[in-house]
């Protein structure tokens, strides 16, 4: 396996883990919070909400304008 393939495999594993957590949030909501709950928790936290908005703005600027 080349270095490039290995790198992409790790990224794919992280992506698969995200999908698995999303699914778990539906079947075992007591163990894993739904993504919208995570956003809600951050958006109502005194410090988290500032970081959340800054991360959102940075993400958009970095992806589309840069």
């Amino acid at each position: 396996m080349s270095v490039s393939t290995a790198s992409y495999v790790v990224w794919a594993a992280i992506g698969a883990l995200a999908v698995a957590l999303w699914w778990l949030s539906y079947v075992r909501p007591a163990a894993v919070a739904h993504p919208s709950e995570v956003v809600g928790r951050l958006a109502t936290h005194p410090v988290g909400r500032v970081l959340l908005v800054l991360a959102f703005l940075w993400l958009g600027w970095h992806l589309f304008a840069r």
């Binding site: 992280i14 778990l24 919070a33 956003v39 005194p46 959102f56 958009g60 992806l63 589309f64 840069r66």
Partner: protein, 149 residues
């Protein structure tokens, strides 16, 4: 209400298609992205309470009765993502051997439909963030300061 939602989605799709047709590092890209940035800032200032407090302090029972830490798996995923991004960014080698989030995003940007879809998802995330932090929702969670509630 339904007509408003349809209009909102249609507007978002149209705007995303327009924004996806721009090229990064150009004025149109800056303007179309900047408008969303400004709209987000205005929405947050208009709809969010000025101050909040931690949910655990005021609604501890509802938070702790659920399970140990339902947010921990997501924190772990986030940390894994950051660690792998930093490793790829800092390690010696070509970007194709060590792809970062940005280099993969560049590949997505080369496809117009994919870029439009990612822009639409970004808009939807912004809407979700504004809604979840709004005064009414914070009031229901008990995280809003009493003076503002």
């Amino acid at each position: 209400m339904r007509a408003r939602s349809v209009l909102l989605v249609a507007g978002g799709v149209g705007y995303s298609l327009g924004a996806a047709s721009t090229t990064p590092f150009t004025l149109p890209a800056d303007v179309l992205t900047g408008v969303v940035v400004a709209a987000m800032a205005v929405s947050v200032l208009a709809r969010w309470p000025l101050r909040t407090r931690k949910a655990r302090a005021v609604a501890g029972r509802s938070v702790t009765a659920r399970s140990a830490h339902p947010y921990l798996p997501w924190l772990g995923l986030f940390l894994a993502c950051v660690a792998w991004e930093l490793f790829n960014y800092l390690v010696h080698g070509t970007r194709s051997n060590h792809p970062t989030f940005s280099s993969m995003a560049d590949a997505v940007d080369r496809s117009y439909p994919l870029k439009a879809l990612v822009f639409l998802l970004w808009l939807a995330l912004g809407r979700l963030i504004v809604d979840r932090g709004s005064r009414s929702r914070a009031g229901r969670l008990g995280t809003i300061e009493p003076a503002e509630a």
